[in-house]
Amino acid sequence: MKPSPLTYHRPRSIDEACEILAGVAHEGKVLAGGQSLIPLLSMRLAAPAHLVDIGSVSRLDTVSASPELGVTFDALATHAALESDVSVARVQPLLRRALRLVAHPTIRNRGTTVGSIVHADPSAEMPAVVSLLGGTVTVRSVRGVREIRADELFAGPLESTLEADEIATSVTVPAARPGTGTAIDEIARRHGDYALVGVVAQVEVDAGAVVSARMTYVSAGELGKVVDYTDVLRGASAHDDRDPLWQRMAEKARDTVETEADIHATDRYRSQLVAALTGRVGFAAARDAVLDDARVPMQTGGKR
């Protein structure tokens, strides 16, 4: 339970970090918060010869949010910092809702959201959130800067499409739109544990009826894949979850989202959770969209 021998680098600037990483390429790994990487090192599931710790790079923990540009957070912004940012919660409320489900506060104090995303763990919440929202990851190397769209970010479990010499420097997600609601929920054995199944939903509602519905899954289905339920759900009531369309969507989820068995749950039980949570979270997102609608006239027609 100790990391294998390694060479530690502590660059002071992002350019220096890129140069070091380019020099060690496939032998190197970037360390930010380390809340996913260090357990892998300790269990020797990963044994990079070089570790490039970007923790001392200055001005890499900025969080900015605006209705036009969405939310952008840098590589060293911790889950806790993003979760407690008031303007982030206003511009894209799904981030805070999801971050509260990420591990325990103690882990969120150190873990970074960008790191969690590019770590590409299929049982983590934030990759699913970024996929659903259609975010972009900005990566940097000695060769330059490029952006990777969320739908091109994940190559498989624990595998992102970043090159070996690239460092993810920030992630941007679009702002929430009026009339579109979001929700997230998961079932875990203890609060803060990895979810047996989690569902993230984005539902657009017009005049009390669903217009479109998209979801991503945690610990189920394919990492980063957005499942579109618009066909089955169009016209479903955003006020009444007894509308049979909700049930039909849940059944479709059970049939289409693949689940696997492990020590914590059988694949059948996971499929049952997928069906139940898809219905529940989808409806919560529809309610959120309706609440948004109700809030908008109050804000614009207020006394100001």
Binding site: T7, Q35, I38, G55, A103, N109
Partner: protein, 223 residues
């Protein structure tokens, strides 16, 4: 050096840090780093293998063994320390990453005159530990939690300790200790242990007590 075992430490300290790092690298074939950080108020430079975890640096190299190492992969919470005042798992931080930071362990929570920290006193008062292995992690976690939320509810206290494992107590007394620590903190700052004694506080306390107390046996609960 006639007596290396005796003079080793002193002989080393006369050399520059960079030389020590080089020597250790040559001797062991392993990359070493020099890290300067503050542990419980004392700033020091330590030379250690770069793969060393913060938990091991604190326990093995700096001999502060109050911090306990349980699972060593971030699940149990026993190794929780305060990094710049925020609780983190010391087994999930490399010692090399501590450069320039400040770490407080369970030892560092004691007042300079030896008075126990309110959380430590509360664990004594409430019998919040049995074997004591998990306790340092709970104490640091709760101390930081009470800084942010000085008068938690029963539910908030439960939530606060959800990330730490204890295999002895069943958690009831630890949760009681969270609430007791809040009382002690209020008491020490000169206030009433139950909080400010005003109309609003009395009303909320009334609601809390009446809302949650069920008579023993539960027979009269429905009346």
């Amino acid at each position: 050096m006639t007596n290396p075992t005796h003079n080793g430490g002193r002989a080393l300290s006369r050399r520059t840090i960079a030389e020590q790092v080089e020597d250790l690298h040559a001797e062991t074939g392993e990359h070493h780093v020099a890290v300067t950080f503050t542990l419980n108020g004392v700033t020091q430079t330590v030379v250690l293998p770069s793969r060393t975890l913060a938990s091991d640096a604190i326990r093995h190299h700096l001999r502060q063994t109050g911090t306990h190492v349980g699972c060593e992969h971030g699940v149990c919470g026993a190794c929780t320390v305060l990094l710049d005042g925020k609780p983190v798992r010391s087994c999930l931080v490399l010692a090399a990453s501590l450069e320039g930071r400040s770490v407080t362990t369970v030892e560092g929570l004691v007042e300079p005159d030896g008075t126990l920290h309110p959380v430590q006193q509360a664990f004594v008062d409430c019998h919040g530990l049995q074997c004591g292995f998990c306790t340092p992690g709970f104490v640091t976690t709760i101390a930081a939690f009470l800084e942010e939320n000085p008068s938690p509810t029963h539910e908030e206290a439960t939530e606060a300790i959800a990330g730490n494992l204890c295999r002895c107590t069943g958690y009831q007394n630890i949760r009681a200790a969270v609430l007791r620590a809040a009382e002690i903190t209020r008491e020490r700052s000169g206030g009433s242990p139950l909080g400010p004694d005003d109309e609003a506080a009395r009303a909320s306390l009334d609601a809390k007590v009446r809302g949650t107390t069920a008579p023993v046996g539960g027979k009269a609960a429905r009346a």
